[in-house]
């Protein structure tokens, strides 16, 4: 099919193209308590085609993208490609070129054992220590082997395979006839049994604590500690500021060689792009547009050092040799997690949802479980919310030397934000 699409695109006279063939072979398991409720398997091949059309003698380059299923007939493929070419001819993007650099020698395609990874997830979840009052309500396991082949009209070709998994689970905790639940979802490459077991058992303990929680009191501003996967939102915002798309659209005003804030009084973060992180679902040598991923600093000691992002915007802002960032490592914390957990603070471990708006930096989240440390005492709290803005928070932000991994992000285990508004319930 890929060769047919390529041949047809050349016949149709498109000016450039990218084709990505993706084969997903996956197993899915749906458990209620520990009883298998449903299971599914899939073997799916799809082609994503981007067609480019030069407009007004190369002043503009139009692009249109569509998906072709493996079972499509030649007539269906022909029609879709013609439609894409027409659509591309209507899009007046300033001209840019596709990747054309030869890629390093391909290594042997990695073998992904879906059966073993699935078995690891299932045995890990079956081995979780539960009690009469805290247990797993349900969990869903998705394990995929992804095989991808990328080609473009400049002769760039890349072929890789990798595992991609997802675990969603719900824990229940009950006391005196009252039951609550906590929800978690995490993406992974393969299954890291130990870290998943630790994470689930920590969530069970949070469930027990939530049953004892009292309403969050009205608080003056306190340092807010984040020590769960929600902290990735904070660091995603920082990575986003280094994206050429945000630079081009003037969403980010960060500049290479300059501090990321005019008053960086807390820790000075370093953010690196990595090709490989153990058990990440983003271990690629080459990005989805055919650019080799160079390991590099985006930010070093609080100074912007580099950018990441797509080819189109890279060229618009005058950057060659760029790539999309998948795996990142954030370091630079000056204190240990224990040192950050001192004095008065609130450590929030469960939000209904925690968001950092990528455009304006607004922070918002409803507190479902937090530990309020005040005057040497600890109060378990629930309810209310936190709100603030990253542009202010980054100035006094501190984070731990210890790191923890959430899929593609290796970030400080504890992040401390100051100056957030905490809305209590009473």
């Amino acid at each position: 099919m890929l060769e047919y699409i390529r041949k047809k695109l050349e016949e149709l006279g498109c000016d450039a193209y990218e084709i990505t063939e993706t084969r997903t072979t996956g197993w899915e398991f749906y458990f209620i308590r520990h009883k298998l409720d449903q299971n599914r398997a899939k073997d799916l091949t799809e082609f994503r085609v981007s067609v480019y059309k030069s407009i007004e003698d190369g002043k503009f380059l139009g692009k249109a993208t569509g998906d072709i299923h493996a079972t499509a007939s030649h007539a269906e493929v022909d029609k879709l490609l013609k439609d894409l070419l027409f659509q591309a001819s209507l899009v007046k993007n300033p001209y840019y070129t596709l990747n054309d650099k030869p890629l390093p020698e391909k290594e042997k395609l990695a073998s992904v054992d879906v059966r073993r990874i699935a078995e690891d997830f299932i045995t890990t979840m079956n081995g979780i220590s539960e009690t009469q009052d805290q247990d797993l309500n349900s969990y869903e396991i998705f394990v995929d082997s992804i095989e991808t082949r990328f080609v473009n009209s400049n002769g760039v070709e890349y072929h890789c395979s990798y595992p991609k998994s997802m675990l969603e689970y719900v824990v229940n905790a009950r006391k005196d006839g009252h039951e609550i639940e906590l929800y978690r979802i995490g993406k992974h490459g393969a299954c890291d049994k130990e870290s998943i077991r630790a994470e689930v058992e920590k969530t069970l303990a949070f469930g027990k604590d939530r049953l004892c929680a009292v309403n969050t009191p009205v608080l003056e501003s306190l340092p807010v500690l984040l020590s769960t996967d929600v902290a990735t939102e904070v660091y995603s915002y920082l990575v986003g500021r280094c994206d050429v798309g945000e630079k081009y659209m003037q969403v980010s005003d960060w500049e290479i060689g300059k501090p990321i804030s005019d008053a960086l009084n807390g820790d000075k973060p370093s953010i690196e792009v990595l090709r490989y992180l153990p058990n990440s679902s983003g271990n690629f040598d080459v990005d989805e547009e055919g650019a080799y991923i160079k390991e590099r600093f985006l930010v070093q000691d609080g100074i912007m050092k580099g950018v990441c992002g797509r080819r189109q915007f890279s060229q618009y802002v005058g950057v060659e040799d760029n790539s999309i960032a998948y795996n990142v490592r954030v370091t630079g914390g000056s204190k240990s997690a224990e040192e950050l957990r001192s004095g008065d603070y609130i450590e929030i471990v469960e939000f209904s949802d925690f968001q950092v708006d990528e455009m304006g930096g607004d922070i918002a989240g409803e507190i479902r479980l937090g530990y309020l440390h005040r005057g040497g005492e600890t109060l378990i709290v629930t309810g209310g919310s936190v709100a603030g803005n990253m542009e202010d928070a980054i100035k006094e932000m501190t984070f731990s030397k210890e790191l923890i991994q959430y899929d593609r992000a290796l970030i400080p285990a504890v992040t401390c934000l100051k100056g957030l508004r905490i809305t209590g319930v009473e």
């Binding site: 899915e28 749906y30 209620i32 449903q38 599914r40 899939k42 799916l44 309500n137 349900s138 997802m166 969603e168 719900v170 229940n172 039951e179 609550i180 639940e181 929800y183 979802i185 009205v218 209904s352 949802d353 968001q355 708006d357 607004d362 918002a364 989240g365 409803e366 479902r368 309810g383 209310g384 919310s385 936190v386 709100a387 508004r421 905490i422 809305t423 209590g424 319930v425």
Partner: protein
Amino acid sequence: MLRPEILENLRVELKKLPKMMEDTLASGKIEPGEYEVITGPEVTGLIAHEAFGHGVEMDMFVKGRALGAEYIGKRVGSDLVTMHEGALCDDSVTAYVFDDEGVLAGDTVEIENGILRTGICDSLSALRLGTQPTGNGKRENFSHKVYTRMTNTVFDSGEDTFEDMLASVSYGYLLDGMESGMEDPKHWGIQCIIARGYEIRDGKLTGKVVSPVVMTGYVPDLLGNITMASKDRCIFGNGGCGKGHKEWVKVADGGPYLKTKARLG
């Protein structure tokens, strides 16, 4: 001339955007606390979706994940609260004739005058629960599993005018524009992140704007405190909704202006 649905109201809607942008740019921060609020139709829809949309998806009943199962036939809101859910409720992006399992689309009255009547159901969950599917079996795409999912979720209109509702507020906010929301079917907590709050004092808009606004609370309190509902209503639907944080499908929601009390931060 027949135009794509998305273009129908584009000219009208685009004209509103600069004002919204100006309001947001000029906005301040809200003083956290409990306020009288009037929810605009978009925020009303968000409440419908998060409060009793997810809470009565009956595959959650099968897993014992929804408090709603214990409240069928019981009061969950004031007399002014009647809520419909179904692909037949509106000709929005999520309107269809039959669901992804071939079950004919429905129009389910979930809450009637404040009493929770029933939930919505896919075929497998209906089989497990010994009930009938409601035409709410949806999948993200052909390669995904069917779950019980929402379609149009909408509060019924009331008898009040917006002007009377505004005049009745001594100190509070008119809440407009939704950012996002999150459900808690087991505990009936609700979180709505709202784009803008317009201050109301002594029955009049003062011109002061706050942004963003995080509205939190306990669903039966929020719905139980509804004392007024406007005569008109709107349904919004071009976004996606996840089951937890996955399985994205198109949904729509809406309703009239509602007056209630809520905790804002």
